[in-house]
């Protein structure tokens, strides 16, 4: 693939400089006539003029006319901030048939006339220096073209839970081919259960079935069950996914985009944590919902042959852990995060329990009740009306569980709600409200060098700017692989990953800014210093290349992976590597021009 993006021009450079008055905004302070006059004497400047409003159609026509009729092939415009009109003038250049990067915009309004009102001479002098610097930059500028990468119109989705299924459907409906990888033999992931979900009161299974049947019937989706990803290579537009299929055969599928929907696991307490595993009557919330589903007894919950009259629910087991208070699982960090869904999940389960067995006594021990959604608060209200006894423990205290000889438990906790009274509850069963932990995808993380946060969940680039993107371009995350979410939030996240895939693959080629590193093979000494400076894996590598008839080691840029930060430029002694459009030579010439003035 050729990513060469500079075009050496043989034509002599003919530069035009335009100084805008901005209707007095510039010309009241800066002596624009003097500026234009001075610049017209500057080497290689063939036209230097001033005009009232460069951004007006007359101003733009003037530029176009000079390009078409006067042979101008480099343009410098000194006016307002490029934020306002850089696009305007680039479009004018395009209309004149000139490469849009052969134009430099010099800001003499926001950063000169408007800030130096008391110093007209100084402002004029500064404008001249800045424009000369602009000329020096544009003399050293080559025409640049956008980088194009042929994009495989297939999306690879890892994980067949609701996030993976939702993302698959959204991409498939948009016309993309999808390969949906699921390591188990069925779709649905953690929602493959009969219990109800909040806030819609549907069974979890019905949610899975609705998405699952559509996935199975969509002709654009290739469903790969019992598939294990082995390794991933490539870059945005052209990934190769190597996997072992259900017949234990190694296969490869190409894709333009990867969506990771690898989901979560329920937190499993270690033995002795809140008395877990010391008795069958200490259970986790997911265990309890199953017990409740399966209990067919009419009056009271029957479990392991025992009638359950009183239950204590303990929130934040494995979540919101604190240093010095909680002990992490062996070899793991403390789970300092809140698992988001467990408060509502617990309250929802309690309400369902109360419908089935209204006489069950319930103690709910929490620290902050996080029923944050629109409908969630009403679930909490309902639980309060259902005679649930809420015990609010101080943030850094943990309830104590003691088993009595009769097999019941004494659960004790300080209660903030009754002004720090010690409350002792005698219960038949304790439900540990456990949260979410990321599923174990360490193989994939190591192989693909995926970023993870301290929580262990996959780490997006930026929670608001690029919330479903990983630093690796073309790889998106969907759902609880990123962090705890409920069903609705997961579906939204999955759809968002879907729309990113659709927009990246909306054209047969992925277009990228031309401002990336380029290597001058003649100058490159093959020292390799640049490689260690690069933070983008695979963007810069050493390769053997035939240069002037001889094989030598040179640095090679992968235009699909380079972001043009320039970290490599600083360490290259022979200046063999530069960022196109922003070269070190350009900046040195600019600074020289400023210093000389």
């Amino acid at each position: 693939m050729s990513l060469l993006n500079t075009v050496e021009s043989a034509e002599p450079k003919k530069i035009a400089v335009y100084v805008c008055h901005c209707g007095g905004n510039i010309s009241d302070i800066i002596d624009v006539k003097k500026v234009a006059q001075t610049l017209s004497q500057y080497p290689q400047v063939s036209i230097a003029t001033e005009y009232a409003f460069m951004c007006s159609s007359n101003g733009q026509d003037m530029v176009i006319n000079d390009i078409t009729n006067q042979g101008v092939n480099r343009v410098v415009i000194a006016a307002c901030s490029p934020a306002l009109h850089e696009t305007t003038f680039r479009n004018a250049l395009k209309r004149a048939g000139l490469n849009i990067y052969l134009y430099e915009h010099v800001n003499i309004r926001e950063q000169a006339s408007w800030v130096h009102k008391q110093d007209k001479d100084g402002a004029t002098h500064k404008a001249i220096a800045l424009i000369k610097a602009g000329v020096e930059k544009i003399i050293r500028q080559d025409a640049l073209d956008e980088i194009k990468i042929i994009a495989n119109q297939r999306v690879a989705i890892v994980g067949g839970g609701i996030a993976g299924m939702r993302a698959a459907l959204s991409c498939a409906r948009a016309g993309l081919k999808v390969s949906l990888f699921e390591k188990r033999s069925t779709l649905g992931g953690n929602l493959n259960r009969e219990s109800l979900i909040y806030p819609t009161n549907q069974t979890a299974q019905s949610v899975v079935d609705q998405l699952g049947s559509e996935v199975k019937n969509n002709p654009n989706i290739d469903l790969l069950l019992n598939a294990k990803i082995v390794s991933v290579n490539g870059f945005a537009g052209s990934f190769q996914i190597n996997f072992i299929d259900l017949d234990s055969k190694e296969q490869t599928i190409g894709s333009g985009v990867i969506i990771l929907a690898t989901g979560f696991d329920h937190y499993k307490p270690y033995e002795g944590e809140y008395a877990y595993k010391t008795s069958p009557f200490i259970v986790t919330l997911p265990d309890f919902t199953k017990i409740l589903d399966q209990s067919a007894q009419p009056k009271a919950l029957l479990y392991e042959g025992k009638t359950i009259k009183n239950i204590a629910f303990i929130h934040c087991v494995g979540s919101r852990q604190m240093d010095g208070v909680d002990t992490p699982l062996e070899g793991k960090n403390l789970n300092e995060y809140c698992s988001r869904v467990c408060c509502t999940s617990a309250i929802f389960t309690i309400n369902n329990l109360k419908i089935k067995y209204p006489n069950t006594g319930i103690f709910d021990i929490y620290s902050d009740m996080r029923t944050y959604g629109l409908e969630h608060e009403s679930l909490y209200e309902k639980a309060s009306k259902n005679d649930v006894l809420f015990i609010r423990r101080p943030l850094e205290e943990r309830p104590q569980i003691e088993q009595r000889p009769d097999g019941t438990f004494n659960v004790t906790s300080t209660d903030v709600l009754s002004w720090n009274e010690q409350i002792e509850a005698n219960v038949d069963m304790v439900v540990l409200v456990t949260g979410m932990v990321p599923s174990d995808i360490s193989d994939l993380v190591d192989n693909m060098k995926l970023p993870r946060s301290t929580d262990g969940f996959l780490q997006e680039v930026h929670l608001k700017l690029r919330p479903v993107e990983l630093a690796n371009k073309g790889i998106y995350i969907a759902g609880t692989s990123q962090g705890p979410m409920d069903v609705i939030e997961t579906l939204n996240a999955a759809n968002t990953a879907g729309v990113k895939a659709v927009s990246l693959l909306s054209l047969p080629e992925i277009l990228m800014d031309p401002f990336i590193a380029v290597v001058d093979d003649d100058k490159c000494t093959g020292c390799g210093l640049c490689i260690s400076e690069c933070s983008y894996d695979g963007a810069l590598t050493m390769t053997d290349k035939i240069v002037n008839g001889k094989t030598k080691k040179v640095a090679q840029v992968n235009g699909a992976l380079c972001v043009g930060c320039g970290a490599c430029v600083a360490v290259c002694q022979p200046r063999a590597i530069q960022v196109a459009g922003w070269t070190l030579d350009q900046f040195e010439a600019m600074v020289d021009a400023i210093a000389k003035e």
Binding site: A83, Q111, A570, W582, L584, F587, V591, I594, A595
Partner: protein
């Protein structure tokens, strides 16, 4: 036009945050001295130590690097930049140059007050 005899301050800004920040100073019609020359780069991490030393030797009195700091869109660029400025200081000391002539700071798109403060501080350094 006669040569400007005042010491020159070079302000290196990032397209991402401090260049728009410098524009915000203008939009608010605040003022600073005109011996200040702002250039815009994707990220100052591209400049080697020699770039600064050459500029400071060839007629620039002071340089302020206004980086994007933790808002930096480029992975690993900020720590590399900070390290490079440290090694530039070492080289400047070896050359008997006042290291206060090179300053690195973080300016965001709306940091108008900090912008003016940095300029004022550098004016003091270059006047001395």
């Amino acid at each position: 036009m006669t040569k400007d005899s005042r010491p020159k301050i070079l302000v290196i800004t990032t397209s991402h945050s401090s260049y728009p920040g410098a524009n915000a100073v203008g939009q608010a019609r605040l003022a600073y001295d005109s011996n200040t020359y702002i250039i815009r780069v994707p990220d100052p991490v591209m400049f080697p130590e020699e770039f600064y030393i050459k500029a400071l030797t060839n007629g620039i009195a002071g340089i302020i690097i206004m980086s994007s700091g933790s808002d930096c869109p480029y992975e690993g660029a900020y720590p590399r930049l900070a390290a490079r400025i440290q090694s530039t200081y070492t080289k400047m000391k070896a050359l008997n140059m006042n290291i206060n002539r090179l300053k690195i700071t973080t300016i965001c798109t709306v940091c108008t007050e900090s912008f003016l403060k940095e300029i004022a501080n550098m004016e003091k350094v270059v006047a001395a």
